[in-house]
């Protein structure tokens, strides 16, 4: 049985369809990355799964529980970490954890709180107000609070936004440690390096699920060709390339230019022309990255933000 098994989810706000027939399965113990641009429906989909929103259409189960009728039981079994820090800033770290422990009826409260503080390394800062913590510590506190009741599924909504690289690295080490203990994780993110640390990724754009699979599968299935250009006056080269058919993306990376296209023949022809016109520019075959794939997805899907 899949931990998450939802199909055909639709959620509309007014006349805007925010989630448009989303189907998703996550197996037990898997870490699945949920990617997509801002406003693509990631948060809404996660909220539907943890019972905070009712879908307009579609059915599904989370931990074998119906998302429409058993949301109260889902809430007890799931740990949900919100995008914005949503614990009480005017309560201390200890008081926040005690509050959560009591809400989940964990007994004895003191033991759970003390153990969580110990694991977090926050025992000495127990009496510090949560609002005075830095972004990275807030995120660690939030994670600790939502795994305290030992959920079977963890839903994380952009948990590492605004957190420094070292804290992010530690955060992901922790996620993998939890997953090896049998916990299933669905995590939304904008960071490509984080996507690459997931077992599988799902890409959603403007409410529609566009791709799903391992990182390699997603990159391969996108069917993109990438070339790396080097040489003088690359800004002029870039302008010239943007006009050409077959060139989908032109992006400067340091002293190089990444050129991506889905039509390999057309792209090669365009590059050959440019190479002739601009002296000293060399063209090498490059590797398509996940980011290239996502930018391709984003420019290809219709914007419904308006």
């Amino acid at each position: 049985m899949n931990t998450i098994d939802v199909h055909g989810l639709v959620k509309r706000f007014g006349d805007k369809t925010v989630v448009d027939h989303v189907t998703m399965t996550v197996a037990e113990g898997e870490i699945v990355g949920f990617l997509g641009p801002n406003g693509s429906g990631k948060t809404t989909t996660i909220r539907i799964m943890c019972g905070l929103l009712t879908p307009d259409e579609g059915e599904g189960t989370v931990l074998g529980l119906n998302i429409r009728t058993e949301s109260l039981r889902i809430k007890r079994e799931v740990g949900y970490m919100t995008q914005k820090f949503s614990f009480y800033e005017d309560l201390t770290i200890g008081e926040n954890l005690e509050f959560v422990a009591r809400l989940y009826r964990l007994k004895p409260v003191e033991e759970h709180v003390a153990r969580t503080l110990e694991e977090l390394g926050l025992t000495t800062r127990r009496n510090q107000l949560a609002g005075t913590l830095s972004g990275g510590w807030k995120q660690r506190l939030a994670l600790a609070a939502c795994i305290m009741h030992k959920p079977k599924l963890l839903l994380l909504d952009e948990p590492t936004a605004g957190v420094d690289p070292k804290a992010r690295r530690e955060f992901w080490d922790e996620i993998h440690r939890l997953a090896s203990g049998g916990l299933t994780v669905l995590v939304s993110t904008h960071y490509m390096d984080e996507a690459e640390r997931c077992h599988r990724i799902s890409y959603i754009s403007y409410g529609k699920m566009l791709a799903t699979g391992t990182v390699d599968e997603v990159v391969k299935n996108a069917g993109l060709t990438t070339f790396v250009l080097q040489g003088p006056h690359l800004d002029q080269v870039a302008d010239a390339l943007k006009e050409r058919p077959g060139v989908d993306q032109v992006a400067p990376f340091g002293a190089t230019l990444h050129v991506v296209g889905s039509d390999k023949a057309a792209l090669e022809k365009a590059l050959a022309d440019v190479e002739k016109q601009h002296k000293g520019v060399s063209v090498k075959s490059g590797e398509t990255s996940l980011e290239d794939v996502f930018i391709q997805f984003m420019s290809g899907s219709k914007d419904n933000m308006a």
Partner: protein
């Protein structure tokens, strides 16, 4: 010059401010609609010289003189005899409950004494818990009654002048013989102060969670709407209890308000009243989207409740529609209870009706709040 003041920059600020004002519909509606509504409402409802006050008649005989006096009192416009009491005890109960503002007693031998020229007496008892409300009615009393009696006796106006004083009108200002207005205001203030703090504090209960972003987390964790509601309102019930003790102690020590009734009855009523208030505040917080809106709604509620409940102006002096409107405020009923219990020494039977009203408010507000509570973020 340009660096200190620029019309272009002022213009930018003004345009931004007007756009924001227009976006916040509730505020906009309140700024335009509410003043007009309040002007009409209060302009017609408030009356400092209340007329047509309910009165009870205790009269055992039905002679022409009695009828003449009653008719004359009614003609003044101050008295409205809508109760006929069979006995003094029944009249007493009517007054304790606040059903009547006056009890007019005309003794059985009144007619006989008039005919004998033997200084007839009538007794008028006025509910002086609100001294202002009764004063107009009392001041016209003696002249009107004497003239009516003389007319009934068929005497000329000139002779009437000489004969004045024959009729002896005895006025009892009940519960507050010296007409001290604090006796009326201070017990009322208990209700007003409680209302201010209780409704205001609980009206931001949920909107504060929403604005700080903690609502999403609270809803994602296993807590039921009933638990959240009780968790939000019960702490303020405790705050209210402290306030009650402070206000009651101060009214005793500073203002020497007489305390004639049962303390336990008063405290029971206060408990129900405060519960109604915190639930009302909580209901507001399920409706408002922001703390600002919640406070606006609270103030929108405060003004009519203070003006139409009988706290500032005599309730009985308002027109009928305004009196009916005044019934929708818990404060109205609480004021009747505190004044009845503290000043009149009323027992449970006299205030049972008002307590029932308060219990109904508790049930209503709790019901609305639970229905309105959004268990999801939809």
């Amino acid at each position: 010059m340009n660096s200190v003041f620029s019309f272009a920059r002022l213009g930018a600020l003004l345009i931004k401010e007007f756009i924001q004002m227009r976006r916040d519909r509730i505020t906009f509606a309140m700024m335009l609609g509410v003043p007009l509504l309040q002007l009409v409402l209060f302009g017609y409802a408030i009356n400092n010289d209340p007329k047509s006050l309910p009165a009870a008649l205790v009269a055992t005989s039905n002679d022409p003189y009695t009828r003449a006096i009653v008719a004359a009192l009614q003609t003044t416009g101050y008295y409205r005899f809508d109760h006929v009491a069979q006995s003094a005890e029944q009249a007493e109960f009517l007054m304790a409950r606040g059903d009547v503002s006056f009890v007019v007693t005309i003794p059985a031998d009144f007619g006989r004494r008039v005919e004998r020229g033997d200084n007839p007496q009538i007794l008028i008892e006025a509910d002086a818990t609100d001294p202002a409300a009764a004063s107009g009615a009392i001041s016209t009393l003696s002249t009107v009654a004497s003239q009516a009696l003389l007319r009934a006796q068929g005497m000329q106006e000139a002779a009437a002048e000489n004969a004045r004083g024959q009729l002896d009108v005895v006025v009892h200002r009940r519960y507050n013989p010296e007409g001290i207005s604090q006796y009326n205001i201070v017990p009322g203030l208990l209700g007003v102060i409680l209302q201010m703090t209780m409704v205001m504090m609980t009206s931001i209960a949920l909107t504060r969670e929403t604005e700080r972003g903690t609502m999403e987390n609270l809803l994602a964790m296993p807590s039921s709407p009933l638990e959240i509601m009780l968790g939000k309102v019960l702490p303020y019930l405790a705050v209210g209890a402290v306030q009650v003790v402070v206000v009651l102690a101060a009214s005793k020590l500073l203002f020497a308000i007489p305390f004639t009734g049962s303390m336990s009855l008063l405290l029971t009523a206060v408990l129900v009243f405060v519960l109604a208030l915190v639930l009302l505040g909580y209901t507001i917080s399920t409706i408002a989207r922001t703390q600002m809106q919640a406070l606006q709604l609270t103030f929108f509620f405060f003004l009519p409740s203070i003006l139409l409940s009988g706290f500032m102006f005599p309730y009985r002096g308002m027109p009928g529609w305004a009196q009916i409107f005044g019934e929708i405020f818990p404060l109205t009923h609480f004021l009747r209870i505190t004044r009845a219990v503290m000043l009149k020494g009323a027992e449970l039977p006299a205030v049972a009706g008002e307590i029932t009203w308060l219990v109904a408010f508790v049930a209503l507000f709790a019901g609305v709040a639970l229905v309105r509570f959004r268990r999801t973020l939809d």
